[in-house]
Structure formats: structure tokens, C-alpha cells
Subunit: 287 residues, 2 copies
């Protein structure tokens, strides 16, 4: 498996994205009526992309499970939580339920139609919805966690940094950011960053989350992949540098050996999984 | 288990060292006549501490297994490969054999009697011995790997950097360094560094391995632990910084969530093991 991942290279080409999904699709855990039910496409806001799926065990009513909400990637301009029959990201919700959590996958408005901080605002709005509604699926509204990948990690970071302009967002118990971008000032911007953040350099400091991530009280966990493109590796290096300068301690930053930009989340719940145990260890400590 | 590790703190006190060993000792894999034999205390040099144990499967003769040689820690001034009945580091040799390797544990001369670069020289001498002798235990003399922890990682790094003054040391296939020290110039020295490296600052640049580690052709894998003392976390940060500056890529640097300075090696082969799979992935790629 890891030799096959390596053959796909590091550039985020269609062949890497599709090839990575093809590798793990046959092994992705899927919801089943016996152990994992899914309530799909619930509206957490008025926009068409403000939708989320809740993965929960049958008959749960105690409302004590921690809630893990996944924010997909896609360069700010595409991506989805996945249709009912899609392996991804039904794997994330199913894995969550298999491991004692309530799983949530959500979509958000896309750039360039919806620009910064629309992503953080949508994630915050979804948190509000979960705080008010997740108990009926067995979730604890006071134990909400976010996990985002790539652009999704950027939106999670934006939410942690308070870039949403909402007053009363629920306090989250933890934030997990996989191969994200945190420092727009040092980043070499691609068309994807331009679509979401625009090209006005004066905004980049304001839109960066790096400093806030070193100061937040929210427990954070990060990953960087061995086969991440250089920009994402650079961002993780900046994260270490800024965290070290501020606190003289390493960020919780897991190096995903043998993985590319997207495989850490695709592998979740498969027999190759190098991340799930670490996520559970983190979640177990912070909830 | 991880809650118990956390309770031991981060300072390298006797209670942390003994407490960590007590936690994992009942679960440490041990050699058995059925699956893992040990040839003990073979002399790789004339000094009393130049001894090694070879862990090998019964009846092996093909000589094709990669060889993983473990170099213990102990602040340069103490430590041991472990007596026959000791859980540590018989666990390392046993785990190696269970996973298709030949395991080796070795001792080396200690400071202050034997100062820099005596550790690297002893490791190099042990490699020479293995190159000449390991085939009879089923090991491939052209597939030698080193793994060191703490001071042992320093000696492994010194060996990679060529600080031994030997001419013809076998080329190794990989080097694994757990919570080591690489940059003596930025390190706040303790009595342990002084015992081995002395207090002559002019020597610190020469004795540092940081730059060599960013340039070597030997594949390297590193760890830093969440509960490592600040000096070791600082050294890992320096390793990232120097590697990034030299190569614009992350070092293979595994963050050991929930672990202290010594538990990553103590856990090897137990049901909590967060490191063994990563070691095998690394070894599988480089041999």
C-alpha cells in the first residue's frame, strides 16, 4: 500500500487524488444499519452548501458521545462530504461511530463565490447547529471537536482563531488540522489561495491563523505528511517555528510517514491506519 | 497507560525512569527458545563494555535478515543492554526477531572515562564486528541498521557523521535516533554532556552532528516525545530547522504523542506500541 502511495508522487494532480482514493476505497469502512446510521443533508444554514450528515449508533439516546465534525478539503473551490454510496468521507463518520464518537461530515460555501472568512463562518454555524441538535443523536453538545483536511484545516483554524464574525460560537474541546495552511505571509500562493483569500496582501496577516494557534486554549493536533507538497511542509515548519518561539514546546504535530496530502484521512478505519489511534488518544485526553 | 505515563512528569528523575520501566515491564516481549534465541556478551572489542547480544531465530542460516542494532541511553555515563532476565532491552531484540530482523543490543564505553568520540567509535567497531559475524545468525551483513535512544542516539548520530576515526566502517542502511542531541552549540549543557563532550566550547561545533545529518546519504528516522524535557524538544526543533534550511523538506521526525523520553523504546512490541509499525515501515523502505 505505501509503495503504491509513493508511486503517485507528491503533486496534487488528478492522478494523485483519484489514485489515492482508488487505493483505499475498497477498504473504507461504511455505515451499516446494524451499527452506524446516517441522517443526511441536514441544513445548518440557509445556503445550499450549508449541509451536514450525522453518523450515530442505532438507538443511542444518552447524549454522552463526543462529537467529531469533519471539514473536507478541495482547495477552497471544490470538495464534498460525499454522497451516501461514496467511500469518502463516509469512512470518517463510520470510523467515528465505531470508536465511540458521533461522526459529522459537513459541506461549506466555496470560493470564489464565498471568500474569506466564509469557510470559518460556515464551520462556526455548523457548530451552533450541532450544539442545539446533536443530543438527539446521542452526542454531547459540550464535547464538540473539529477535524479538517487541507482547505478544511484552514477553515478549522479560522474557526479556532475566531475569524468567523459570530458572537456566541460553542467552545470546542479540540481541533485537528491535517496538512493545513496557517501563515499566509510566508506561503507561496496558488490560484486556490487567491480564490479564497484574494490577492490583497494587506489582508494576509489578518487571515493568517498562525499566531492565534500558538495562543489558543483549544487543544490542537496537527499532521504533516512525508509526501505533502512543499507548501504544506513549509507551513508545518512555520507552525513548529512559531509554536516553539511562543511556548518552548513542540506543537502536537504528527509526521505521517509514507503518506501524501490526502491519504491520512482516506486510510481512517482501514488496516493500514496510522492516524486513527493517535486521534483517539488525543480526543480521549481533551474531552 | 498513557495517563500513567503522563503522571510521571517530564524530568528525568529516578521516579520517571523507574516508573516508566515498571509500567511496561510486565508486557515487554521476551526471548523464548521456540522463537528467539540470544547469544550474549560477545566481545566486539577488547574493552569490558564492548559487548553485544545477538537475537536470532532458531535454525536460521540463510543470512538474509536485516540487522537492527540498538544503542542504549543513560546520559553517556550509565545504562546497559540488559541482563538475560531484564525486560529491557531484551524487548528490543525480541521484537526485532518477531518482525523478521536480527536484533542486536550493545554496550559501549562510558564517560567520563571514555570521552567523545568514544561512543561513536564503539558503535562503529560493533558494526565492523557485525559485518564479519552476523551472517552465522541469519543476518545480512550488507543490511545493517542502527537505532539509538538519548545518548545512544547521539552515538548513532556520531557514527553517521563519521566521528569515529576508523577508516572502513560498513555502510549502514538506516539510522534511527530517538530523542537525541545533535547541536551542541545551541544546547544548554548538563553534567551529562560535560562528562562526555567536556566543557571546551571550541569542540562543540566539531562534535555536533546536525549539519552532517542534513547532508548524509544514510536514511535517517528521528523521534521527539511530547513529554521529552525541553532540551530534547529544542534539539528536535533545531533538527527540523536545519533540515528545512538545507533541503526544503521535513526530516522523517515522528512526534510521539503521550510519550516521555524513554517510553517509546520501552513500549516496543507491547499492545500500546506506537513506534514499532513506523520503524518497520522505515526499515522496509531502506533495506
Amino acid at each position: 500500500m505505501f509503495a503504491a502511495i509513493r508511486e503517485l508522487g507528491i503533486e496534487l494532480s488528478p492522478s494523485l487524488l483519484e489514485g489515492s482514493q482508488a487505493l483505499f476505497a475498497p477498504f473504507a469502512p461504511r455505515p451499516t444499519p446494524q451499527s452506524c446510521l446516517v441522517e443526511r443533508d441536514m441544513a445548518y444554514g440557509p445556503e445550499a452548501r450549508q449541509r451536514l450528515d450525522v453518523f450515530h449508533p442505532p438507538g443511542a439516546g444518552a447524549g454522552q458521545r463526543p462529537v467529531l465534525a469533519f471539514v473536507h478539503g478541495g482547495g477552497f473551490v471544490r470538495g464534498d462530504k460525499g454522497a451516501p454510496e461514496a467511500p469518502f468521507y463516509n469512512n470518517v463518520g463510520t470510523w467515528a461511530v465505531q470508536n465511540g464518537l458521533i461522526g459529522v461530515t459537513l459541506t461549506y460555501r466555496l470560493a470564489p463565490g464565498a471568500r474569506w472568512p466564509a469557510g470559518a463562518e460556515d464551520v462556526a454555524l455548523a457548530l451552533e447547529w450541532l450544539a442545539g441538535n446533536v443530543a438527539r443523536f446521542g452526542g454531547n453538545p459540550h464535547r464538540l471537536l473539529l477535524i479538517g483536511q487541507s482547505a478544511g484545516a484552514v477553515h478549522v483554524a479560522g474557526c479556532v482563531a475566531g475569524h468567523h464574525r459570530r458572537r456566541s460560537v460553542p467552545v470546542i474541546s479540540g481541533a485537528i488540522m491535517l496538512s493545513g495552511v496557517y501563515d499566509l505571509l510566508s506561503l507561496q500562493h496558488s490560484q486556490f489561495e487567491e480564490a479564497y483569500f484574494g490577492s490583497d496582501r494587506a489582508r494576509f496577516a489578518e487571515a493568517s491563523t498562525l499566531e492565534a494557534l500558538t495562543r489558543t486554549d483549544v487543544p490542537c493536533l496537527f499532521t504533516v505528511s512525508e509526501l505533502d507538497p512543499v507548501n504544506f511542509q513549509q507551513q508545518a515548519a512555520r507552525l513548529l517555528e512559531a509554536t516553539w518561539a511562543a511556548k518552548r514546546v513542540w506543537p502536537r504535530l504528527l509526521y505521517q510517514q509514507g503518506h501524501n496530502h490526502i491519504t491520512p484521512i482516506l486510510q481512517l478505519g482501514t488496516s493500514w491506519d496510522t492516524l486513527g489511534g493517535e486521534l483517539l488518544a488525543f480526543i480521549g485526553r481533551v474531552v
